[in-house]
């Protein structure tokens, strides 16, 4: 199938995500402009600094087009800062920080602490068990009714899905394991078939 997955490349770990997609034979496109966005079937939002990305989304003219595409059902996968951008509520963020409200969760920025507290750990999930890397990670503090919890550590949700929106508080792109990318690609492929 001819599928293009965009990786939002304004700031953050976009290169590592592109490498993951390449490793499973999926064509990826770095997205920095509305034109680049229009060529993709799905969008990956990487980790990085959510306040930086939020500002660059505005200055690059990408915020509204991405919002429209998500509303039209484009599959999106946000990791860490990317998850914050997708959340319906951001706690401890900057007051001017905007999000797409694409998934009904409340997320607290840097709730796992500063870098000294960053960690890696095993995640049990219905998609499989993963080695999760958590970097100054956000915490999912509330999960809405329509949201499915796919993975957790210590009974806390860290991987969630609502329709075509997938969000993780950890970094699958940092652990040489592309199974979650494969899962996201399968969501996109199913949508393309319809």
């Amino acid at each position: 199938m001819n599928m293009q997955v965009g990786v939002l490349a304004l700031q953050g770990a976009f290169a590592a995500h592109s490498e993951c997609l390449t490793s499973i034979g999926v064509q990826s496109v770095e997205v920095r402009t509305p034109e680049q966005l229009s060529s993709v079937d799905a969008l990956l939002m990487p980790g990085g600094e959510s306040s930086t990305m939020s500002q660059l989304l505005e200055s690059s003219g990408l915020f509204d087009p991405i919002s429209t595409r998500i509303a039209d059902g484009m599959p999106v996968f946000g990791t860490c800062a990317g998850m914050i951008l997708l959340a319906s509520e951001i706690l401890d963020g900057r007051s001017d920080q905007r999000s797409f409200s694409a998934i009904d969760i409340s997320v607290r920025r840097n709730a796992f602490g500063r870098q000294v507290d960053s960690f890696e750990s095993t995640i049990n999930s219905s998609v499989g068990d993963f080695h999760g890397v958590f970097i100054r990670a956000p915490r999912i503090e509330r999960v809405g009714d329509g949201v499915e919890v796919l993975g957790s550590i210590n009974n806390e949700p860290v991987l969630v899905r609502q329709g075509n929106v997938l969000a993780a508080s950890f970094h699958p792109e940092l652990s040489n394991d592309a199974r979650l990318h494969e899962y996201f690609v399968s969501i996109t492929a199913n949508r393309k078939k319809v």
């Binding site: 920095r32 600094e49 500002q55 690059s60 870098q115 890696e120």
Partner: protein, 300 residues
């Protein structure tokens, strides 16, 4: 230092290099107080470097330059959400212990401060916090990586507003990486000898074609075009030291450099954000600085 509790570990190389991955494409700005830190965050900085004097002032004042006052670092930590970095003197592992105790997110073992040890760098595996170190060439970069650095930056010649040295360092590091990917297995032994770097790291580069950790640019970046030049040469993001807060109008310049770093290949964006920024920092030509005043030659 790696600590493990059940199935969970902190301080691993993956977690350290992971934060460096998160900073890619963002701008790390030098700030001397919480007001500047807020201006930097408002402008879209992905991290700030907290220090008492920007390199231009250290150069002007002379004397011994040390780690900043913890109080000033804590005030900056309290004022922003983004990661806060701070500098220690080369080899001064106790300054690093103090910064780790403050919960600083990244430690810069920096030639901009006066070195504390003329032979040894810090054993960075001893720490939970990741380190960034400067390098002028690939050998220096690999020695720092072998000591546990999670991020390498060019040294440039900090505090000059002149990026000629940063360009030299980036071209040297990336040029040698390109050559190593063309070398045969016997030549790699010679490369390791010439670079004075561990053979295993040289062999790894031959295989992957890239440095083991992210490579950022630092030293003399003062304009959006400077940032984009570093990126087009192959840096994965930029540190801007004196260039922002030594300019006539810091906030718009900071924002322009953030946009230029993201859209570094788009000349139309670069032209738009470069307009009307006022006077950049004056800067110093290299031949105005004698050898003993050069920061880049510090580090071994």
């Amino acid at each position: 230092m790696v600590s493990t509790n059940g199935s969970s570990s902190t301080g691993t190389q993956r977690v350290k290099r992971g934060l460096a991955e998160m900073l890619k494409g963002g701008v790390i700005m030098d700030v001397v107080n919480s007001d500047q830190a807020k201006i930097a965050e408002d402008a879209g900085a992905c991290a700030v470097m907290a220090l008492e004097r920007v390199p231009a002032d250290i150069r002007r004042d002379g004397g011994v330059a040390r780690m900043s006052d913890p109080e000033m670092i804590m005030a900056i930590q309290a004022s922003v959400h983004i990661p806060v970095m701070a500098k220690v003197r080369i080899g001064h592992f106790v300054e690093a212990q103090i910064l780790q105790s403050l919960g600083v997110d990244f430690i810069d073992e920096s030639e901009v401060l006066t070195p504390a040890d003329e032979t040894h760098h810090i054993d960075k595996f001893d720490f939970t916090i990741p380190f960034v170190c400067g390098a002028t060439n690939l050998g220096e970069a690999l020695r720092r990586i072998s000591e546990g650095a999670a991020l390498i930056r060019s040294k440039g010649e900090a505090g000059t507003g002149n990026m000629v040295e940063a360009v030299r360092h980036l071209r040297s590091i990336l040029g040698d990486i390109r050559k190593i990917t063309q070398a045969d297995s016997a030549e790699l032994f010679e490369w390791a000898k010439r670079l004075q770097a561990p053979l295993s790291l040289v062999q790894e580069i031959a295989e992957t074609g890239k440095l083991q950790v992210p490579l950022f640019a630092a030293g003399g970046i003062a304009t959006p075009a400077d940032a984009a030049l570093a990126m087009q040469l192959g840096a994965e993001t930029v540190f801007v030291g004196s260039g922002i807060f030594k300019s006539a109008d810091p906030a718009p310049r900071a924002k322009a450099i953030v946009e230029a770093t993201t859209h570094f290949r788009d000349a139309d964006v670069l032209a738009r954000v470069s307009r009307g920024l006022g006077v950049a920092m004056t800067g110093i030509a290299m031949d105005e600085i004698n050898e003993t005043q050069r920061f880049a030659s510090r580090g071994w």
